[in-house]
């Protein structure tokens, strides 16, 4: 079963590459990602599935991330054909193939139990996302793709070094030399401590680069702002979460080894720094896609902060992972629509989005209200839970700084979003032939609906999924 989750998008990618018609090829995207989503939902109820001599397995945490990836991919790939048809003359062969390959590889990250395999998968995500970022084939896209590849390659090289350190910590400590998650957690007590610390530092920096934690996030705003809307949505909702998953796996080993305090301190520091970086750069940001990218940096910081608090913070963080992926995915898709109508990403040129594109403009505004943690949307619940965790841990300073930064983000982001949404659209913008169509607004609308639902009531199965992941991951402390 696990093989099929990986194989379906893989085969879809190959088929899309070989398929000759540029006009029909985009329909492969919703088809294969829909099939993959169905398979994933089919295994949600299963416990402890494994395959390939245990190298692949489905643990509660991986399951949560896998579900989020699959849902987000399906939503984005339903949107993708309408997006690609805006430029029918451009070849989408590599683009479609790489999108499906990315889905397969990200699923592999969620499913791998072996840390080396997970590393190979994360490395492969860089390789298939680079052509996606480069889709627009202009100077800015090249620059973004080059930065992305170079910075992420260095990060991933450090993560490899960290993985080796981890292996050597087992060797030096006399533990069984393996990189299987379960075995490492079981024998964590006998891992050599200095090597374990060095391993964590290297892995955190390495995967943190990929996750976009400040100050290692420098590739992220460029890649997110220059790539097509679908890709930005997937990068921020799926790719970053997979890097977060990698960090969580490593942190779990540290906790099992009794070095949790060391790991949590590092996570807390990077988390607050990321939120601060996001807040500072979001204020007065003129490019609204870059603003959303910095919002991703901020929210990655929130995820890490929640986890570092332990207890209820872990649940809050995992819930926020779901909320952020869906809200941010929807915001990026809508920002693609706005860009389509205005041919600009700068708030200097874009105004009156609600008038020009009633549905997309309103969704953009609603998405902003949701992502900044206002009720009645999902992120409010999760951010509030994380805030509660800081106070329950008597980390009042941390909670205070967190709250203050959230406020700064709200004001800074609101500034740009209101400028984009309100007012009167310019004459050039009125003249473009872009309009909200059914398929360009369906996915954002559904995602927004889910985010609203999550703010009011978390459905039982999802609750069980998140609670299961939080219990399983936090159980070692």
């Amino acid at each position: 079963m696990l093989y099929f989750i990986l194989l379906v998008p893989l085969v879809g990618g190959v088929a899309a590459y070989l398929f000759p018609s540029n006009r029909l090829r985009p329909y492969f995207l919703p088809l294969f990602s829909g099939a993959q989503l169905a398979l994933v939902l089919g295994v949600v109820k299963e416990n402890s599935l494994s395959a390939a001599q245990g190298w692949l397995f489905l643990d509660p945490l991986g399951k949560l991330v896998l579900v989020v990836i699959s849902v987000l991919f399906f939503a984005c790939l339903v949107y993708a054909p309408a997006y690609l048809f805006k430029t029918p003359e451009k070849s989408n062969r590599i683009f479609c193939a790489c999108l499906l390959f990315l889905l397969a590889i990200l699923s592999l990250v969620a499913l791998s139990r072996q840390l080396e395999l997970m590393w190979v998968a994360i490395e492969a995500t860089s390789l298939v996302s680079a052509p996606l970022i480069y889709f627009n084939h202009n100077n800015r896209a090249i620059e973004a793709a080059w930065k992305f590849l170079l910075i992420c390659s260095v990060g991933i090289a450090l993560a490899l070094l960290g993985t080796f350190f981890l292996g050597y910590s087992a060797l030096a400590g006399g533990a069984p030399t393996t990189l299987m998650m379960d075995d490492l957690v079981r024998s964590a007590g006998s891992l050599s401590k200095p090597w374990l610390h060095a391993a964590f530092a290297a892995l955190l920096v390495g995967y943190g680069t990929k996750m976009g934690l400040a100050p290692l996030h420098t590739w992220l705003p460029d890649a997110h702002s220059e790539s097509p809307a679908v890709v930005s949505a997937l990068l921020s909702g799926a790719l970053l979460n997979c890097a977060f998953l990698a960090i969580l796996r490593v942190t779990k080993i540290l906790h099992a080894a009794g070095e949790g305090a060391f790991a949590d301190r590092a996570l807390l520091g990077l988390g607050l720094l990321s939120i601060a970086f996001g807040a500072v750069f979001m204020a007065r940001q003129r490019d609204f896609k870059r603003m959303l990218a910095y919002s991703s940096v901020e929210h990655m910081g929130i995820l890490v902060l929640g986890v570092s608090m332990g207890g209820i913070g872990i649940f809050g963080s995992f819930l926020h992972l779901v909320n952020n992926a869906l809200t941010k995915g929807m915001l990026f898709l809508v920002s693609g629509n706005i860009y389509g109508a205005y041919h600009s990403k700068s708030r200097d040129d874009v105004s009156g989005a609600i008038r020009r594109l009633p549905l997309s403009g309103s969704l953009f505004l609603a998405g902003f209200i949701a992502i900044t943690g206002s009720p009645p949307f999902g992120p409010f619940v999760s951010e509030f839970t994380i805030l509660r965790a800081t106070f329950e841990n008597h980390r009042f300073a941390v909670g205070g700084i967190f709250l203050f930064l959230l406020m700064v983000v709200f004001i800074g982001m609101g500034n740009t979003v209101l400028a984009v949404c309100q007012g009167e659209p310019s004459n050039e913008a009125k003249a473009t032939d872009f309009h909200d169509t059914f398929f360009l607004t369906l996915s954002p609308l559904v995602l927004m609906g889910i985010v609203l639902l999550l703010g009011l009531y978390i459905p039982g199965p999802l609750m069980k999924l998140i609670q299961g992941a939080a219990d399983d991951w936090g159980g070692t402390r």
């Binding site: 190979v120 490395e123 480069y134 090249i142 793709a145 590849l149 080796f164």
Partner: protein, 213 residues
């Protein structure tokens, strides 16, 4: 035999310094090829000829790091017709001094990490750290995209030196990781290099400055 491995590592570190101090891109690429050969020889002295996959691994490393990637880089260099690294962010002499400092730090740092008695007599740890730092220095202070790629290569060479420590207990894994990573990465980077060149008609990553805040 142990002595031989240490000599190889010392040679590797010397090559690092030469690479930091050289302005000719062709020479820097050649130096990275020499490092590839040195790395290819190292597993032999680590492990002996006991296992069949060790000589194969050595051949693969020499073929990829010593021959294939340098020839790809040379091709890229010819295509874009640049020969020299001009005005790096940090001059060649300061980079060498920084590299020397890195080597000292590597020695200090490696004293804090406990090695198995079996590995104590090797210079693997300081050699690895100083090579990784050399790669970092080249990555961050050079303007030309090709030199940055070479910097990344040197960084990976440093990581590979560390992987020698795991060769006996975790065969294959360490090796596959490094080789696969290098192979594909440089390939894609090479393609991008081509595109940068077409779009900007130069290979100066310094010109990639339109995206900022």
């Amino acid at each position: 035999m142990d002595g031989a491995l240490n000599y190889l590592i010392i040679l590797l570190v010397l090559v690092n310094f030469l690479a930091l101090g050289s302005s000719q891109i062709g020479i820097v690429i050649r130096l990275s090829a020499i490092q590839g050969f040195l790395l290819g020889l190292m597993p032999l002295f680590m492990e002996g000829w006991g296992e069949i996959h060790i000589p194969l691994l050595c051949l693969a490393i020499i073929a990829i790091k010593g021959l294939l990637i340098p020839s790809l880089l040379f091709k890229a260099m010819r295509d874009v017709k640049i020969r020299r690294e001009v005005e790096p962010l940090l001059g060649f002499i300061p980079s060498m001094l920084l590299g020397a400092l890195g080597t000292v730090l590597g020695l200090v740092f490696s004293n804090h990490l406990p090695l198995l008695p079996l590995h104590k007599e090797f210079l693997i740890l300081p050699g690895s750290f100083s090579t990784i730092l050399t790669g970092f220095i080249m990555l961050t202070t050079r303007h030309k995209a090709i030199t940055q790629v070479v910097g990344f290569l040197i960084l990976e060479n440093g990581i590979f030196v560390f992987a020698l420590l795991l060769l006996q207990t975790m065969p294959f894994l360490a090796e596959i990781g490094v080789l696969l990573d290098l192979f594909v990465c440089i390939f894609v980077l090479g393609i991008i290099l081509n595109h940068i060149q077409k779009a900007f008609s130069s290979l100066d990553s310094n010109k990639l400055t339109s995206l900022k805040d």
